[in-house]
């Protein structure tokens, strides 16, 4: 685990074509990022999520011995899994990645205020770097699963779910509070839309 003494952060600023760069001064953001503590490399890309962009991250991790990665681009809701994979492939624990959302939360919502947008983008990068410096590698725990299912309620839905699971090879326990399964449907005469018998 990287101790706070040998932190090496890489920052990757994405232009997202004109999506970010059209409003935010990405050059200024990159220059600013280079001044932040423990940042050893800053790269700017047209599309960081594309193969060349990801390649650049992987190369930088190797070349600059990065142990924290910050990507300033779109929302983590879209590409966090992408970049987590990318750093994992380069041998870094995926929890050592942090993103700054400078598209959805900046360039797209402050189109009339490029100066304000650039200031905000810098702050978000500073925030991401600050967070990255405190990140720690994490291991996801794995627990075994008991291969059986409980179905509560024996109406048509519970019956169908139980049959599907059992047909798929799983043990099923179906618990029905009434003396017979069937639910409401068992009390119906005919059912729409087919107008056939319900039982």
């Amino acid at each position: 685990m990287a101790t706070p003494h040998n932190l090496r952060v890489g920052v990757f600023v994405c232009e997202c074509g004109r999506n970010i760069a059209g409003t935010v001064d990405c050059g200024a953001v990159s220059d600013f990022a280079a001044t932040l503590p423990d940042v050893v490399v800053v790269k700017q890309n047209k599309y960081t999520c594309a193969d060349p962009g990801q390649m650049e991250i992987r190369n930088a991790i190797a070349e600059h011995k990065l142990n924290r990665v910050v990507v300033a681009s779109c929302t983590p809701k879209i590409h966090e899994p992408t970049f987590r994979n990318c750093v994992r492939e380069a041998g870094l624990n995926p929890y050592l990645l942090e993103m700054a959302n400078i598209r959805e939360h900046v360039s797209w919502v402050h189109q009339d205020d490029p100066a304000g947008a650039t200031r905000k983008a810098k702050d978000l990068v500073a925030s991401a770097v600050a967070r990255a410096r405190k990140l720690e590698p994490q291991v996801e725990a794995e627990v075994p699963v008991t291969k059986a299912a409980l179905v509560i309620g024996g109406g048509v839905a519970g019956i169908q779910a139980a049959l599907d699971l059992a047909d798929a090879g799983h043990q099923v326990y179906l618990v029905e509070k009434e003396p017979s399964i069937g639910g409401i449907m068992a009390a119906l005469d005919k059912t729409y839309p087919t107008m056939d018998c319900s039982i």
Binding site: E104, D123, S127, T146, A149, A157, I159, Q160, K177, I184
Partner: protein, 624 residues
């Protein structure tokens, strides 16, 4: 139904209820109470001799009370399991030996009056909740006269009266005189789509098509019957539905747009007079019917509470179980490893129930087939050295994922990782600050706050946004290009429940003009009810700020869903307006006050820790 009874991999427990559930995804420990049937279902061959001799008759619930059954009975002819049981409440006296007729005639000796409930333990990896719905009881709609007028019946009662297996062997007659009605009126939306305190606000989904079906059955069996449907909208939205609706109209069924205000009985004929406004013409009509069928809606299972607590489920305002995500995870419960099938989630017809059941089985099957679950590394770690075993963490956990401490036995709270979803409420509420959230630690969040407020904090709005609603709400504002002032700085947490009061105060101490805590609406909270702790915390904080002489309005709380991009933008605009009202003097004063508050807290914790330490050392000496 029969397939379930026969399937080698399905063990059926009828007349049974789940009594306890502990454990977590992949590892649930369940106990089931198998209630005594008093008839050995494995030996019984359904000869029916017992029923013939039983002297007790009670109303038959299956037949909606239109006929009777015995105290020893089979629920209905096609029942699965195909076995009798004794209704002990009806069986003669508390001492069944006083009668004992059924046991006397049973040649296979299946009957055991002393049978006891059995408790069966089960181990399962996944749970499917398919507890369905109940039919709405229309008695409170007094204007329709259900229970006062015999010839006003419910749609469920209609089912039994038209059914060949019903109490009248399918001869459709009305209750008062067992005569065949020639004029039948159906009243729609009874108990549904109601804006008054009576009934429920939602559409029950099935009653329109059920009525269309009923009119077709009548037209089919009795071409001379005149049916009238009183409705406000006919919702025939599904595949093949419009076609059935058209067929019903072609069969001569009259659809009158207007819900009756009133139904009254003519005491002589026992016919019913309906007062209704035809909203298409504006005419007020009085119409006579021989029989009225109330198209009753459906309501959540009233015993749903039991299942709800057993599995830590939440309900929407309607009372139906809430799914993990209404669009993207419609059959997953918020608690991992639990899935919904059928009407338990919301009223739906058989086809949709079956479809959803397939989806739930598939979702559960993925879990079972994978054979293992990974737990996202965002769970809490409790440093027990300075834990006072107060138990607040266990109390606030929406998932019961913290085993409560016990000061008497010396047990410390323990995180059950697989049950935890990482909301962080425990860490925010721990009075000793000894709970660290992995990947959302205090140091990480405070580091973000400091970085965001390093430069010109007085111009900034620091906003905490939860991962599931407010943060994606802000994303949506972006996708929609909703513009707002560039002063907001967001910090993402999994849940607003993670936002420690200290984070907010820290931001104010760093000079932020405004702080926003935003999370999911109560009904959407992705951590069951964690957001209620957010609210309590912020309300307490407002009082505290007030006492300290800091304007409480500088801390705002908003619920913004993932679909509310526009709301996010307007909240930001409003916060920017408020930001401009905050004076530099105010900010400076708050900074000084809060620095002193933090110093006081640090001192308190220091002292308490020292006390705990010396106490512990003393105990160790005593033991030695």
């Amino acid at each position: 139904m029969m397939d379930v009874g026969r399937h080698p991999r399905i063990q059926l427990f009828t007349h049974s209820e789940v009594e306890t559930v502990t454990g977590f995804v992949g590892n649930f420990h369940v106990t089931v109470r198998k209630k005594a049937r008093y008839v050995d279902e494995t030996a019984c061959n359904a000869c029916n001799e017992c029923v013939a001799v039983c002297p007790v008759a009670v109303p038959d619930a299956y037949q909606q009370g239109f006929s009777s059954r015995k105290a020893i009975y089979m629920p209905f002819p096609q029942a699965v399991p195909s076995s009798y049981l004794i209704d002990m409440d009806a069986c003669l006296g508390n001492n069944p030996i006083a009668c004992g007729k059924c046991a006397d005639v049973c040649e296979k000796h299946c009957i055991d009056y002393d049978a006891k409930d059995e408790i069966v333990p089960l181990e399962v990896g996944a749970v499917i909740v398919a507890t369905g719905v109940e039919v709405y009881d229309p008695t409170e709609y007094d204007e329709y006269g259900y229970t006062r007028y015999e010839n006003v019946i419910t749609s469920m009662e209609f089912e039994r009266l038209i059914c060949a297996g019903g109490p009248t062997a399918g001869h459709f007659v009305r209750p008062s005189d067992e005569q065949r009605p020639l004029r039948v009126g159906f009243i729609q939306c009874v108990g549904s789509r109601s804006l008054s305190p009576k009934g429920n606000p939602y559409c029950s989904n099935i009653c329109c098509m059920n009525t269309v079906k009923d009119t077709l059955l009548l037209a089919d069996h009795y071409p001379d019957v005149e049916s009238t449907v009183y409705y406000m909208d006919i919702r025939a939205f599904g595949k093949g539905f419009e076609d059935l609706y058209r067929r019903s109209k072609e069969a001569g069924v009259r659809y009158l747009r207007g819900l009756p205000g009133h139904v009254r009985e003519d005491p002589a004929s026992r016919n019913l007079v309906v007062t209704v406004e035809d909203t298409n013409t504006g005419h007020r009509l009085e119409e006579e019917q021989d029989l009225i069928v109330l198209a009753c809606g459906v309501i959540p299972r009233q015993n749903g509470g039991n299942v709800k607590h057993l599995l830590n489920l939440s309900q929407t305002a309607d009372g139906f179980f809430m799914e993990s995500h209404p669009k993207l995870k419609p059959v997953d419960a918020p608690s991992r490893g639990v899935f919904f099938a059928g009407c338990a989630e919301f009223p739906k017809d058989v086809k949709d129930s079956v479809t959803q059941a397939g989806a739930a089985a598939s979702r559960a099957g993925i879990l079972l087939s994978t054979g293992k679950v990974t737990i996202e590394a965002i769970t809490p770690v409790i440093d027990t050295e300075f834990c006072t075993q107060c138990g607040i963490c266990a109390k606030v956990c929406p998932y019961g994922a913290i085993r409560p401490p016990d000061a008497r036995t010396g047990r410390y709270p323990e995180v059950i990782e697989a049950a935890c979803s990482g909301c962080g409420t425990c860490a925010a509420e721990c009075p000793m600050d000894v709970i660290a959230m992995r990947h959302f630690s205090d140091a990480q969040i405070l580091g973000q706050i400091d970085a965001l407020l390093e430069d010109h904090p007085e111009e900034k709005v620091l906003a905490f946004a939860c991962n599931w609603c407010s943060y994606p709400g802000a994303d949506l504002a972006g996708t929609n290009r909703s513009q707002y002032p560039a002063h907001a700085r967001l910090v993402r947490t999994m849940c607003s429940g993670r936002v420690d009061e200290d984070f907010i105060l820290h931001a104010l101490m760093r000079g932020a003009a405004m702080v926003l805590v935003s999370g999911c609406h109560f009904a959407d909270c992705h951590y069951i009810n964690a957001v209620t702790w957010t609210q309590k915390r912020i309300e307490k904080l407002w009082n505290r700020l007030d006492r300290l002489g800091i304007r409480p309005e500088r801390v705002q709380m908003e619920w913004i869903s993932a679909a509310q991009g526009t709301k996010f933008a307007s909240v930001m605009a409003e916060l920017d307006r408020l930001r401009r009202t905050v004076t530099p003097e105010e900010i400076e004063a708050a900074k000084t006050i809060l620095a002193a508050e933090f110093e006081k807290k640090a001192e308190r914790l220091r002292k308490q820790r020292a006390r705990m330490k010396s106490q512990r050392e003393k105990e160790e000496v005593d033991v030695a």
